[in-house]
Structures are given as structure tokens and as C-alpha cells.
Amino acid sequence: MTAQPYRREGVTGKTVRFRFDGRDYEGLEGDTLASALLANGVRAVASSVKLGRPRGVYAAGCEEPNALVQIEEPFPEPMLQATTVELYDGLVATGLPGQGRLADRPDPARYDAVHAHCDVLVVGAGPAGIAAAGVAARAGGRVILADERPEPGGSLLGTTETLDGRPGREWAAEEVAALAALPEVRVLRRTTVVGHYDDNYVVAVERRTNHLGAAAPAEMARERVWRIRATRVVLATGGHERFVAFAGNDLPGVMLAGAARTYANHYRVLPGRRAVVFTTDDSAYAAALDLADAGVEIAAIADVRRAPGEAWAARCAERGIEVLTGYVVTAAKGEGEVSSVEIGPRGAGATREVAADLLLVSGGWTPVVHLFSQAGGTLRYDEGLGAFTPGETRQAVEAAGFARGVGGTGVRTLRACLEDGAEAGRRALAAAGFAVASGHRLPAAEEEPTAAPAEHLWLVEAGDYGTHFVDLQRDVTVADVLRATGAGLTSVEHVKRYTTAGTAHDQGKTSGLLTSGVVAHALGVDVAELGTTTFRAPYTPVSFAALAGRDRGPLHDPVRVTAMHEWHVARGALFENAGQWKRPWYYPRPGEDMEAAVLRECRAAREDVAAMDASTLGKIDVVGPDAAVFLDRLYTNMMSTLKVGSIRYGVMCRPDGMVFDDGTVIRLADDRFLVTTTTGNAAAVLDWMEEWLQTEWPDLRVHCTSVTEQWATVALVGPRSRAVLARLAPGLAVGNDSFPFMTWRDTEVAGIEARVCRISFSGELAYEINVSSWFGLALWEAVMASGEVTPYGTETMHVLRAEKGFPIVGQDTDGTVTPQDLGMEWIVSKKKADFIGKRSYARADTSRPDRKHLVGLLPEDPGVLLPEGAHLVETSALPEPPVPTLGFVTSSYRSAALGRTFALALVSGGRERVGERLYAPVGADLVPVTVTSHVLYDPEGARRDG
């Protein structure tokens, strides 16, 4: 291990040890992986995706196109930019050849999300952002200031500028600390605003523990998604420097001038020893001078302009730095990294080669308008800047500082940015409804030289454009762009897709405008007219896990349970997901498989007594003088004729006539009904009722209230159910005459106030006992106490009802089935003038005789169980496809009561086919089956009275 040869002299700090590409290095606390690699003289960090060319650090932030790394330890993470990875002890990383690698083990980290609200959200804690936040916060606004870096300051971090006579970064740190101390201000560090959605819904991602490495506390979310709703947004997002397309502009050692300046000033690292500077504006001069101060020899400045800023030229002259005006870099040269730079007059003329290990490039600065564009804002081309700047938007958002192109020359001026930020903060807070006093004091900035106009140069002309890179990460060159335009493509979007420019990890932050410029150059049109590609969220890549947050595992979707759930769990029930509910599926005894358990449970229900937790059924209290009229309109059958004390089964359809839900309706009073729904449709039916009441029939005096969880329900089934109930409810006359089928009684069961309904979904004598769900477990335990009642689950319930031909909505129907198809002509009222769905039965297709009908199927071999979902055909041998299907099996079971297998199926013209033999292709076989009525068990209904 060597000392850090490129670290500036006299720098001290806490040493951090890391490993890169299999070698151990040391860096300093505060480094990024990129700055630490540079400090150690590592030039080639990664290799390019298509051409395999070596690539080095090009930038100093999230715009980095080249230095892509794979994190190996503490936990594998694919493709990060070395420029945004904060260094920590124990970091192990490798350079990437274009593809990252996922971990092969589960990520142990925690991720979460949080909602936040503010009057003003300021994005970016550079000079403009801090000024904006300062004005808004001190006037009492609720302010969120978010910045992607570990420390505030933005562009100040890379310069040697002073404010109020001290280094700009110190001012930034103190001012932001002061703001953070205000009660209504939240400062989010390491937080990138990645998306700007409708109505100022702004999404940011905070990286909370990455920089701690293995020391990250497990209970702390590694990344946090901030879902911010802001009254106003100020985008103080600054700018990204762009480069110029010339030969070899991808070689390690070529670097954006502003980035080099940041490495020298902020990270105290020299990105090289001897540099050539290639610029199109004044900004690179400051970089050159700072680097010279830091000890980098500036071999020459090639300025494409004839007239650079005079003050800058003078300062260079003072230091003996050669400034070549009207010059361009024609090539960066070297084996694997820059060793010399070829420069020459623009256009034509003798070139010369200058020895250098560093080539600083500034092709101008592009305002970061991603979020503004995402917010739906238009962009306009600014001639002075040579870039697109924010235009109009309907959202309450504005850009400030360099993000707005302040200055208009492409060179950021500190004082203008501070003032612009303060103005934006004032406007934003006033628009949010605050009275804002003027007179916020801004720190004093040094006098800055007046910038000379920039010249917008996209590419250095040459004969061969094979190494004039436009998108470094996607290995797209000017030659590729020319090939695309040569193929006939005239839109930037097409060229992007033809070449893949702008689609990489950096999403074209440095290359987007350059691509437009080169395309415009190739087509001979104006960049302004050509436009740019669309800016899409996220601004920087976001981990999948951060987006998933805590909605994982058991919290992925609510698990809904009944009051009796603990009992089912304790009894070893297996559960079925029924929507969000967990319902007991069956209760296997030791050694039993599902088939044995279900046959046993069925037998108990048919021959003895069994009970099911039916609490999940939806229950809706429908009350009002017009309740009966209302239900008559919703159900296909008549509900207004139902007597108080009685119960009726009903079917609801959609206006298209297809079955939507079914259940029972209990009449509690003249003006009061209790409606039950299927488990899955409880919410949908309540919404359905409210929709019709509120939007179509506001004249009906009806109120609906969900009472699904008010009640716990036990279905007590079987010939001995009456005896069990009689014992539990001594006050209830349980005889068939005093408590007939399809009636209900209020009573006490096991000492608990209860409503008992005599209804049956199995054809057996059965009761549903309803109690307050607080007593659900108590009731269940009382029912089970004697040990004579067999608990059963949904599978047995399905078998029992199928034996009776009762359909299950969603299993025996699929949204294309009418009540008539189900053999329920009897439930479709002929008397009512209208009900929802009625008109549709007169349509051509709903009256076809060959519609699919619900029928029973008996496999000729009574031991053969048809798969649910098997289809039916007419012939005993399959012809070549396509073979028309006659229908399919919706339910299929082994029946203890029938002593054989059976199925329900929807079969074309099925009721006319009863007695016919059909065939079900199952695997390679054709299983012969006989069509029967769908009611297979006790068709006379002899058992329901016990």
C-alpha cells in the first residue's frame, strides 16, 4: 500500500481503507470513491460497454458517465458512480464493464418511505437554494431544503470563492445549520429529488446509512423515499458541465474542467500533474487557475473563442499560462490514458502535441432542468447559454440561480445566483400565502470578472469521427450519430434509439445536449428547432428496494383475520388467501392429507355436525323508508315482498346482465335489511350501493352502513346441528315449525346475544349464528367445547355447496355468466319493470340457446377427478387444432356423499345436453364424462329441515 501520491500536500484527515479491483488503498474521510481513486493515481476505473475501452473519472457528481463501479462489500450493489459513492472503511468495489451484478442473497437492509408537507420545497443547497430557503424559512414558512450531497454548498464546494470574507462552503455550512435549527425547517442531506409529479408531488430519495458501511445500524432505514407535497417548489439545481466531441475524448485523464476544480478544492486531490485546458467559455479559466494554485502545471489553454474574458486572460498571463485563442483540441492521445494532447487552430492549420496527463474540457454549462421538465414545464433554447432553460409551467414551481440560466453567459456568477435564489424564495412564500418582509441580508460576494460570451461548440471537425464520443457510457460516437442521420433519421429521439445515446446510467446528463448539437450539426438545422429528448424520472437511479419500502413480506398487503383466527392457527388449520382474508382451508388431523381431511369434514357436515367460521362474508345494514325499493332495483329478484323475520337469497348483476354478486337478504324491519355479500365483494357491493344511491337515485331515502366486522359468524351445519344449537341456546325454540327455514331469531347462544339465521349453503339443516365480533372467539369455543362439532374450512364448504349445485361467484362465474346461464331463471323477476341488468337479457347474445350453462359432470370412471379448468369437447378423438371448446370445468371434487367424483362445468347449450357423453382432454387422455343436472345431491331438498 502506498501513500496517496495525488493527494495535495499537507492534507490530513481520518484514513479510510478500501479495496478496488482487488487492490487495497487508503483514502480520507470525506472522499468519494472517485476522489480516493484519483488520490491513489488510479486513472482507468471501468471499461466501456461496447468497445471495452478504458474509462476514468470524468465528473465529480451524479452526472458521471464513466466511472461505474460494482460494490462487492459490505453488500453487493450493481452499478454506482464512483463519484457518488462516499468512502467508508471496508468498502470493496470493482470497476464495471458495463453490466452490474445483483446479489445472490436477500438484502438485509431496511427501506422506508415517509410523507412530508411544506410551504416551500427548495431543491439544491447551493448558493441560490440556500438563499431561497433562508428567505422563506426566516419568514416563518415550512421549508424543506433537500440536497444530494453529504454537505451543503453545491457549486461553492468546488470553488475558492468567499462569502462575507470566508470560504463559501463555510458560509453554506453555517447558514444551513442555522436554518435547520428553525422549528419549521427540515434539511435533508444526501437526498436527491428524483421525480416531480402532478400537483407538486415531489419524490426524493434519502441515502441514510450507505456512507456508514458495515457500521450502519440495522434498525435504521438504509434509504428513505420522501413523498413531498409542496405548495411551492424552487428548483435551485444548478448546472452540469458538458464536454466536446473530439478524437479520444474518452481517454482516462480527460475530465470536465469544473470537476477537476472540485477535486482540487474540495477533495484536495490532484487529478493530474500537467494539464491542457480546452474550453468554450470563461468558466474553465477559474478551474485552470485553481489547479495551478494547487500545483498542477497548466501547459496550455486552448480556447475556441477569439476573445476570451479579458480579466481571465490577464490572470493567466500573470502566471505564465499560455492561452491559445481560436484553438481546439483535435485529439487526446495516449495508451490507455492521456499522455499528450494535440491542439491546433480551429478549422485548419498546423497542430502541435503537448505532453500532458490531464485534459480539462469545458463545453459550456447546461442548467439542470430535469425536474422542471418532469413537472410539465416547457423548455426554451437560450442562445447565450447554448442550452435549454425553463419556460412555462402550470405547476407552482420555478427555477432559480443557474438552473434558470441566470447570467445568460453560461458562467455562473455567485452574486446573481444568491440574489435570484432570494427572490425566488420570497416569491414562493408569498404565493404560499405568507407576508414576506423584504430585506433578507445576503452575504457579500467577491467582485467577479464580467464574462465574455461563450461559443457553442459541439464537435471538433475531423475526417474520422470514430473516437469522437458523444455518449461515453453507451460508446456512442459522432460517427454513430452521422450513420443514424445518414439512414434517414431526423429526430433526436430516433437518433437516441438508433445509437442508444442518452439511455445509460447517467441518462445523458453530460451527453444529451451534445447529442442534440451533433445531430443538429449533421442535419444542418438549429438546436433550438431540433429540441432535446424528454426528461424522465428518476433524475438519478433509485433502488428497487427503496421504492418497495416496507410493503414487503407480511406487510405487503394487509392480512385480514376474523375474531376466531387464533383458534384456527392453534388447531393447525391451513389457510387460503381469499382476497386479503386468511380463511381456514381445512383442518388436517395428524397423518391426514388434504383429501382425507376434506372427506372427513364433509362427512361430518352431512352426517353429524360441523362448523365453519363464516365471519368474512360482507354484511351491510340497509335502512330507510325506500330500502325495499332500492333492493328491488339492485337484485334480480323481488326483495320488497320479503317478510320481516325472513331471509331471501338474491343475485346482483351488472347493467350488462352478468352476475356480480350473490348473498342473502334478511329483513329486520319494514325499513331495515341486512344484506350479506361474498367475502371478496364486500367493499365492492357497498361501493356499488353508494354509487347508485348517490349518483342515480338521490331521491331514495336509504342509508347503507358496513357491519362486516361488527359481527362474527359461525355456520353450524349438519343433521345434529339443531341439537347442538338447542343446548347452546336454551331460550330458542329450535323446532322446524317454530324456527323454519329462511327465517331468523334473536336469542342468546352460549350466553351471548346472538342473531341466528336458518340458512344453508350445503343443503343440510344449518344455522348461522351471528354475535358481536368481540365475542366471536367465545362463541366459537363454546360451539367447539363439547368436542362433538367438527371444524371445517373453505374447501369442504365448496364441496358441500357444489354437491347441491350452488355456484360460487368468481369460481363458477367469470363476468360473462348470467343468472339464466346458472340455471337460475327462477331468480330473475318477470314482474319487476326494471332492475339492474334486465335490459341486457333482451340482447341477441344473451338469448342465444348455445350459451354456456352450468351443469354437472360425472366422469364415467367415478375415481377420476377432473382438473378444474379442463375443457370439454364432443369427440372421442381430438382433431387437429383449433378444436372448438364446448366449455370448461369450474369446480371439481371428490364427494363423500356421492361416493365418487363430480364436477360443475359451464357447457355450451349444457342443459340440452344432460345425459350426453362429452370428453375432457386431460394431458394425453380424453376423459369421458356424462352431463347431468348441476344439482347432484338431495335434489328434492329433503335434508335442509334435518
Binding site: 409529479y197 402532478d198 400537483d199 407538486n200 408531488y201 413523498r227 407535497r229 410539465g376 402550470r394 347493467p655 350488462d656 361501493d687 353508494e690 354509487e691 348517490q694 349518483t695 342515480e696 338521490p698 319493470a833 326494471d834 334486465k838 335490459r839 341486457s840 333482451a842 340482447r843 341477441a844
Partner: protein, 92 residues
């Protein structure tokens, strides 16, 4: 995530609402009197403009009231909300 101003509860996140499609489509007075074409029109055909659209929303996670909104489907800007039964406001 739109911020939808419920006429009762005030602005709430879109996720609290259920969308109900085009507003002011009344259930026919007498469906039996309609031709199949007219009935099909009621069942399946709804306006789908690019621009201002009067539509229904229900604040299902809040007050459970249905109401109408005029929204620009090209920009998602909500120009007005109004209660069921009220006429569609004129948007300049």
C-alpha cells in the same frame, strides 16, 4: 399522484379516490324502451376527450361521497369540482 379537492374533505391524494369515468351519464328512464344500439351506447360508450372532461370521483377512503370534477386530460389539471346533481360549471 393528483391532489384532488374533495368538495367536503378538501385536497386529498388521488389514492384515496375511486374513479368513476364520465359524469352526467344518466341511467335510462326506461331501458326496455331502448334499442339494442341505444342500450349498448349506455353500457359501453363514454366520451374520451383530450382536454376538458367532466368525470366522477368517489372519495372512497374518506367521506365516501361521489362528486364530479372537470379535469383536463391533457394536463391533469383539475379546473373545478362540484357535487353530484349540480350542473357542470363552465370553464373559461
Amino acid at each position: 399522484m393528483l391532489l384532488i379537492p374533495c368538495p367536503w374533505c378538501g385536497p386529498r391524494d388521488e389514492a384515496e379516490f375511486h374513479y368513476g369515468g364520465q359524469a352526467h351519464v344518466a341511467y335510462p328512464e326506461d331501458p326496455a324502451a331502448l334499442s339494442d344500439e341505444e342500450w349498448a351506447r349506455y353500457l359501453f360508450f363514454r366520451d374520451n376527450p383530450k382536454g376538458l372532461f367532466a368525470e366522477r370521483w368517489s372519495h372512497t377512503a374518506g367521506c365516501r361521497r361521489w362528486f364530479n370534477a372537470v379535469r383536463d386530460t391533457a394536463t391533469n389539471e383539475i379546473h373545478a369540482v362540484y357535487r353530484t346533481g349540480e350542473p357542470r360549471p363552465v370553464i373559461a
